[in-house]
Amino acid sequence: MTAIIHPDASADRISERARFKAARRVRGLSDRGIAWLFVAPTIALLLAINIFPLIWMIRLSFTSLNLSMSYLPTRFVGLDNFNDILTDEDVWARLQTTASFVVWSVALEVLIGFGLALLINRQFRSHSFWTTIILLPMMLSPAVVGNFWTLLFQPQIGPFNYVVGLFTGIPPSSFSMTGEVALAPWTIVLVDTWMWSPYVMLICLAGLRSIPDYIYEAAEVDRASSLRQFWSITLPMVMPFLMLAVLFRAIENFKMFDMVNLLTSGGPGSTTELVSITLKRDAFEKWRTGYSSALAIILFVTVFGAANIYVKVLNRVKQR
């Protein structure tokens, strides 16, 4: 007797065998192999868009490359670019401007953000509504914030000057918030504080909500005053959160570019020219690629070093 196998049935069996083999191959992979399989695309992407450009930038920082003079041969200049930057008075002046902006804006954001967190932490009617309203500025894009504050500060038609004029009697068009040497540095601090205090508030709120009620109850039993409770319980327990907020905001503001560029373009003169604006001008207006790569590395090392020291201090505070 001859057994006749239906052609379709044989095809099914073949494909089943192929599936079984494939499954066995996957099953053959170790856990580590599967982990690598999942992580590999991310690592490849990171290498392509982060690590490779970083290494390339380090390489360029030792050269004389200027993209606007691509007809000139690119020379290896050793540490000349770094030497030029570190001995340039203008770069130090820009670093001072940046430091002043970071210190004032972060200090104000912490004060206002923490104050708002203390207020919002109390349960009251329409509490959620006010929380959302307070959070609105940080939800906006810095480009939008820069543009609409530029309009608000406009001396002729800007409402900001009119409000100031209303309370002080100063003619609205007699001063320019973004155009005067004495006012412009405070203007960028003001707008940054307006935008990012809610962010600090959120972090502080998380800290406040993590303090167990029983600690306050014990303090009440001990008849500790509200001020005493604040200094001995609230502040020490929120401190790691506050320090984290300072770290995040300081790093962000050290590399602040978009909002300040839109508000003042670094002016008047170079009064509000933060180091990131200098970097952009050197890299993309003057096209001094080698020089600006060196400046970018110096800034990166500065932020990285300062953040590392800060994190160590933060860990010590947490351990206390």
């Binding site: 003079m69 002729q156 008047p268």
Partner: protein
Amino acid sequence: MQGFVNSANAIKGLEFYKELYKCCTAPGLTNAYMQEGLDAFKSGQVAMQMNWFAFFPGLYKDPNVGGDKIGFFVNPAGPNGHFTQLGGQGISVVATSDHQDDALRYIKWFAQPKVQQKWWEIGGYSALKAVVDAPGFPKSAPFAPQFLESMAIVKDFWAEPSYAQLLLDTQKRVHDYVVADKGTAQQALDLLVKDWTKVFKEQGKQVAGQ
């Protein structure tokens, strides 16, 4: 460069420019360009402004400030001469281009009198003698006589590949002195010479006196 860019007359000129800025600029115009200047003029904040000829047809047509309410004038003469600056950049042929012949052919075509005449008629600006010396030219636009006068006193600009860098340095030093009140005119121009020396050295050029 040394002794020319920062000459005594250049210092005086810069000081005079600062005086003009302090007395007569509309508030808030610390970083103004063409558009802001036009806005200040059209809104009546300033009675006079200096701008490119390219904007004059639009200003002349403006119902509020144009027509018989507007007049055009040439830069006034200074103590050491009477000059004006040619707006825009000249056409350059890039030395590293693979299409230099095409670029040169285009320039030859564009420089033809009939093309330049047409260019002026449709709103472009021609400085070709055949166009500006034509008998009907002074009446061809309300500002044509001033254009003619300006072209006669044009001071040439530097045709430098690093033009943008030199301009950015100038803007920075002048702005720091005029707007931000940093240092003196002498210091601003001395620093400018230093900046420009750096740019030229990067270009591999010799700088006299350095």
